[in-house]
């Protein structure tokens, strides 16, 4: 709260872990399944995604450096004028709310299947949202601090992979390029969403202290999480048959199931419960961005906006009548995410054209 008056609050560690932790959400748990159209050859796909994301970071940060004190919402209003900008921001806001709902609902459904069989998810949903609000209350710096904490809390999950490695078969990684163009396309389309989350840097960029080095720090954070995702995918390829990759919905959870400690048998339940840290860091960042969205649309920052967003998310997740629509919405919203990946490139182009026009007018 004491940072409220100061705009620049994020140091380099904050940037690294904000990028790293926001990326890992529920999608990682199902990524080997999502990439399964490529069969065993999928194991290097996370690395390719990493390269793509790293390239996409460049225009985002370039744009940020041109508007050092503005979030993407403000940039929209500056580039497109007040009303067009506000319209785009409203669409973005809706997008954020849907992503928030999609992430929370997919995680809670998983909890319901694995840990809390035959219980209502209403109470866990309320608790999750309240926790998220609590984290976001402290502003972007408190989210970043939470990200650092959850990174170290969940790092131990990597240890659970060792049973999968012991029982797996490294020969599955060969041949490396055994797929058709169509299979590659399907896998990319379904899997790319696993790296969603880094694009939020356009929104918290003005809060970064050392903006010139932001690209370096952001790339570091990005590759940290790509490595995390890569391990899970690689071990899944070693451990499962192609049929299992295609048919097991959450391969990573099944990997956890394989482990056993002398005092604990169902590591998958522990794993999925620890995963809440990764979910909270993701939802917190999106909630923060959504709040900034309402602030910019209503042109006044208010804490109550947080609760608005949370209530919308609650309604969207619990709305009883449109389950089929909801499912399609939650799956398709990620295509909008791909558009948002590319959006800054367009903004950069517009920015490059625009100043010349201004000069001409003056």
């Amino acid at each position: 709260m004491m940072d409220d008056n100061k705009l620049k609050v994020l140091n380099r560690y904050h940037v690294v872990f904000l990028i790293q932790n926001v990326i890992i959400g529920t999608t990682v748990l199902s990524l080997p399944h999502r990439l399964s159209s490529m069969g065993y050859s999928q194991w290097w796909m996370p690395l390719l995604f990493g390269v793509v994301a790293n390239l996409l970071l460049i225009p985002m940060i370039w744009l940020g450096l041109k508007y050092r004190n503005d979030t993407l919402f403000v940039i929209h209003e500056k580039l497109f004028g007040k009303w067009a900008g506000k319209t785009i921001n409203a669409i973005l806001l809706i997008y954020f709310i849907v992503v928030l709902s999609a992430v929370s609902s997919s995680f809670l459904q998983l909890i319901q299947v694995v840990a809390l069989v035959d219980r209502e998810i209403t109470a866990p949903l309320i608790i999750l949202l309240l926790m998220t609000i609590y984290i976001v209350h402290g502003g972007i710096k408190s989210i970043a601090r939470f990200c650092i904490m959850s990174f170290f809390m969940t790092l131990g999950l990597l240890y659970f992979l060792n049973w999968g490695i012991a029982d797996g078969d490294i020969r599955h990684t060969m041949p490396i390029f055994n797929f058709t163009a169509k299979q590659f396309f399907t896998a990319s389309k379904k899997g790319l969403m696993a790296i969603g989350g880094f694009e939020l840097i356009s929104f918290y960029f003005p809060y970064i202290i050392n903006q010139k080095k932001a690209l370096k720090h952001a790339s570091f954070g990005l590759w940290l999480s790509i490595l995390f995702i890569f391990f899970f995918t690689f071990v899944s390829v070693m451990f499962f048959s192609e049929w299992q990759l295609k048919n097991v919905l959450y391969p990573v959870l099944n990997l956890f199931k394989e482990g056993q400690l002398s005092y604990l048998e169902r590591l998958d339940v522990l794993g999925i419960t620890m995963w809440v840290f990764l979910i909270l860091s993701t939802t917190a960042a999106y909630l923060w961005a959504a709040k900034k969205g309402i602030d910019s649309i209503r042109s006044s920052p208010k804490k109550t906006h947080l609760y608005f967003v949370a209530v919308f998310v609650f309604i969207l997740v619990k709305f009883p009548y449109m389950e089929a629509f909801q499912r399609i919405l939650f799956e398709r919203v990620f295509y909008l995410m791909y558009a948002l990946f590319l959006w800054p490139i367009l903004l950069c182009l517009i920015h490059m054209i625009k100043p010349k026009k201004n000069e001409g007018l003056e």
Partner: protein
Amino acid sequence: MKKLILLFFIVGITLTAGCTETGQRTSVEELSLVSSIGFDLVNDKEMRMTVGIPQPAGESPELTESYSVNTEMVSEGLVKLSSKTDKMIVINQLRTLLFSEEFAKNGKVTEIIEHFYRNPTVGNKVRIVIVKDKVEDVLKADYPENQHMDAYLNELFEPKLHTSFSPFTSIHDYMNTQTDPVYHTMVPYLEKKEGSLEVTKVALFDSEKLVDTISTEQSLLIQALVGLKKLSPIDIKFKDNETDKHLFLEQIESDVNIKGNKNIDFPKLNIDLKIRAVLVEYKGNRDLSKVDEYEKLEKEINKHLEREIKEILEKLQKLELDPAGLSEYFRMQHKGKWTEDLTKKVIASLDYKVKVEMKVLNTGTLR
């Protein structure tokens, strides 16, 4: 500060609401935790399901209760069994799944295991066993040495060194080998002998059906080819050998190195097996205090093991089965989709060279 108090208040409310839910969950005392389920064949449609339920000490004179029922589907059977016992049956603590040989020969095992694989409450550590005669008899019998039948079964199929010939097939292993076009499934084969149970053989599956069994000695060699690092003790009986008769090896460490020739039309494999072991018993006419005699014995063991490995590989070739995953060496070089037919083709036409290098580490502290 006020906000913080409000927050705690809201969280407190939701948490207490969670505890006083109207639909109370059943407590552990009211549940029957099944630890083993057996399946026997009745006819084409029906099967006979037997469950073993361990009882808490002191509650019942029987340490393990067992019930049977005829059913068409697994869940249906569990519901029927629930009405037989006084408590609700749950399978969270399932440890062993047993199938009669007849049942497995009918090719029905996979659909049942898939049912358990799908169920998130079942752990992945559930072991699968084929039983020689009726499973019901195994689960309902008395074992004077092991009163707690369920714990006995569970112990029997925990991976241990002296039983490392067994594949210890878990639900995951079964599904993995069933769905992988390279591997054929192996499952330990259990026989009831008077008052005890014994893993006597290992069952081989051709896709979904049990087709043949191999001895535990042969299965141990397959485990060595798969890449198991520590093997159970080997008992070697020489045939047609005048100087050496019988010896026993312990603490065996094995290291296998297999190379394929990347050609699926004329597949060739070089199998190099390095074994280090302690010689604990020897019957024969060699004077083992002499170094050259020692080396000669090692060579004899090498020859013997090479012959054994060739024998088992020949048997598998005849059956066109690949439980050791040898065709994986060809799949990893193959572009396009690999099918089970390709595995069969590779195994049937496989040409292999086997070389065993055995090193006896010591013979104990006596001369």
